[in-house]
């Protein structure tokens, strides 16, 4: 089934076409949701709600950009909306509370590459994790993040800075990346060549 057939069938509420679309994009989208969610069950709930929105709003897709990107934006917004329903989310973006959080080394999972990095991201506090996901991975600007999360732009920036520092610390402990100083030195050395 081509993408056009899949789209046309899904818009017509054809179950087979919808299932093809779901099977094609659900693995990656669940990965997106998993980065925002507290656990796998929550991630699947986000995925479910996101795909229901995708199918009900599919007629609004105008072929401007890739379909995956369009679905991804809906999924991210769904994740944010669900997180915002959780009252604890508002507290988690408070800098004062987040600054005292430490990640113990034995919490760091020992699984490989992509999943390692994702699990390390999920170790971050909810507010840090959300801002980092939105800025560094999903590519939203701090202004857009501030609007989505209903926070100040400066809060978004500071949350991201702290999130990145904490994540870097975790990744270094896991030997996934080298320390910042040596990396900067390496980057500088590369730039001189």
């Amino acid at each position: 089934m081509t993408e056009e057939q899949m789209l046309a069938g899904s818009i017509k509420n054809n179950a087979a076409a919808q299932e093809v679309l779901y099977n094609r994009f659900s693995p990656r989208m669940l990965g997106v949701c998993y980065r925002f969610a507290k656990n796998r069950e929550d991630a699947e709930d986000m995925l479910q709600e996101g795909f229901i929105k995708v199918f009900t709003q599919l007629h609004q897709y105008r072929n401007e950009g890739a379909l995956e990107g369009w679905i991804r934006r809906i999924m991210v917004h769904t994740c944010i909306n669900i997180l915002k329903k959780n009252k604890k989310f508002a507290e988690s973006v408070d800098i004062i509370h987040a600054s005292n959080i430490h990640v113990k080394e034995d919490m760091i999972p020992s699984i490989m590459q992509a999943k390692q990095v994702v699990e390390c991201i999920r170790l971050l506090p909810l507010g840090y994790r959300t801002v980092l996901n939105l800025y560094a991975i999903e590519g939203y600007s701090h202004k857009e993040i501030a609007n989505m999360l209903e926070i100040e732009e400066s809060t978004s920036r500071s949350q991201y800075t702290r999130a990145k520092a904490m994540l870097e610390d975790i990744l270094v402990k896991k030997n996934i990346i080298q320390k910042q100083k040596s990396r900067v030195a390496f980057s500088s050395a590369v730039s001189l060549l």
Binding site: N13, A15, Q18, E19, Y22, N23, S26, P27, R28, L30, G31, Y34, R35, R40, A43, E44, L47, Q48, F51, I52, F55, T56, P109, S110, I111, M112, Q113, A114, K115, V117, V118, E119, I121, A136, I137, G139, K164, L167, E168, I177, Q180, R183, V184, S187, S188, S191
Partner: protein
């Protein structure tokens, strides 16, 4: 500048690493999405699924005794440096061990609904050729195998490491596999199992073609293992229903009230009828039910409850008992009783009687969700309640309506009640659900024995308060 350069690299590293991350959702996600998009198609798909399941089961039973060179199942404890898996998987992962030498269809990706033959192993070839066997009903293995992207050029031996790597499979003859289970170590250490005839491992050490395949199988099998489908659907509810109850009293015979009866001081023939001074009173119902959600909107319920029914009788208590009779449906049958309670003013002390019953009932019924979201829902429900009256205070009006007779023998022991209700459910943060709403309960059969000429049916209207929790 170096900082910016590093920052860009860090973010680029994050994006590139994480972008390719995938997870495979469990089946319930698509089921929920499908049911949401196609709400009218549940029953046909349910019937079709049931038919398919029965067909596959019968097929599996019919083919049960056939011996195939098939790896039926394996308990693989993978190298678990990963703490996330070690405690949770606990040898429950079903994996398809396949090292393929024969050319396979490259990048073969099947949907979950298409059956796939399970590859099996024979040991007649040092190169470990794989032969296709008959389709097995092991759904998880089939699906796990079907989703592996099989690349012809990357077939490498699968390597098991660690002490706990046991592959359990079976054989009836040396070198052949059969669908019985023995357990023995992969490296040839035979376990004590009378069914075991294998003397050497059929599958030698192999390395996984790609580590991602292994991880994918692990992830897929773990997150798609059969779950207890009833968990989450079953809940229990405790409730109490204070109510106001009364009765309907109907004469079910055409006989005259003042038919000839043994004469007595209080049984003088008269054409008068006397008004009964009855009034409603408090009733109570309390019990528990099990609730089974069969769909998003319907749940079945069954339980047990105690009922206390009551209504008040205004009467006068006489100093001396009198003889009276009870009017029965059978004219040939006469019931004579003594009574010290008068329905008519006789100058005696006024008293209030409680005509009551104590019942144990088994409500069976269903609730239907009318509207609502995850937090607040509106339900309507109905039950039918076979009941047993184990105690009570039945006061039967005499044939001339002048006296009340207390007679337990005229009380019907087994009865049938029905109830209808509507209620609001409120989900609390701890997961418990509070329910509250009106309920009307009505007794379908008379309180009294069918011999008695009056039919009394009790009913009560109250507020049902309950709390529901999932198992």
């Amino acid at each position: 500048m170096e900082n910016n350069f590093y920052n860009d690299h860090f973010e680029q590293f994050l994006k590139e690493t994480v972008d390719d991350f995938r997870m495979y959702p469990s089946k319930r996600v698509w089921s929920s999405i499908y049911n949401n998009l196609h709400p009218g198609r549940k029953w046909p798909s349910l019937a079709t699924s049931l038919l398919i399941i029965v067909t596959i089961t019968l097929f599996g039973v019919a083919n049960k005794t056939e011996v195939n060179n098939t790896v039926v199942a394996s308990n693989i404890s993978l190298d678990d440096n990963d703490n996330n898996y070690s405690t949770q998987q606990n040898k429950s992962i079903l994996a398809a061990v396949a090292s393929i030498n024969k050319p396979q269809q490259s990048n073969h990706y099947l949907t979950q609904t298409s059956p796939v033959t399970t590859p099996d192993v024979s040991d007649d070839d040092d190169t470990k050729s794989i032969q296709q066997s008959k389709p097995k009903t092991n759904r998880l293995i089939s699906q796990a195998v079907s989703r592996i992207n099989i690349n012809d050029n990357t077939a490498e031996p699968f390597e098991e490491t660690g002490e706990n790597n046991d592959i359990s499979f079976s054989s009836t003859t040396e070198g052949k596999l059969a669908p019985q289970f023995i357990s023995y170590n992969l490296f040839g250490n035979e376990m004590s199992n009378p069914a075991a005839t294998i003397r050497k491992p059929l599958v030698k050490k192999r390395t996984v073609t790609a580590f991602t395949d292994k991880e994918w199988i692990e992830d897929f099998a773990f997150h798609n293992k059969p779950i207890n489908k009833w968990r989450g659907r079953l809940s229990y509810q405790l409730y109490a229903t204070p109510s106001v109850g009364y009765r309907s009293l109907v004469k079910n015979t055409d006989q005259e009230i003042n038919r000839a009866f043994p004469a007595g001081p209080s049984n003088s023939a008269t054409s008068e009828t006397y008004a009964l001074q009855h009034s409603p009173s408090w009733n109570l119902e309390a019990g528990g039910t099990f609730l089974l959600s069969v769909s998003k909107a319907i749940r079945l319920k069954a339980g047990m409850q105690l009922n206390y029914t009551r209504y008040r009788i205004g009467a006068q208590e006489m100093d001396h008992p009198v003889f009276t009779t009870l009017l029965l449906n059978n004219p040939a049958e006469l019931v004579s009783r003594s009574s010290s309670i008068s329905n008519i003013p006789v100058g005696a002390e006024a008293t209030n009687l409680n005509s009551s019953t104590y019942q144990i009932s088994m409500p069976l019924g269903a609730d239907v969700k009318i509207a609502g979201n995850n937090n607040i829902q509106w339900f309507a429900g109905a039950t039918i309640q076979p009941s047993y009256v184990f105690a009570g205070n039945p006061y039967l009006i005499s044939s001339d309506m002048k006296n009340y007779v207390y007679d337990m023998s005229m009380m019907r022991r087994f009865n049938l009640n029905t109830s209808i209700e509507t209620f609001i459910s409120l989900t609390l943060k701890n997961g418990a659900v509070l329910n509250a709403g009106p309920q009307l309960r009505y007794q379908l059969l008379s309180t009294y024995d069918k011999r008695y000429s009056y039919d009394e049916k009790l009913y009560n209207l109250g507020i049902k308060l309950g709390i529901t929790r999932n198992f």
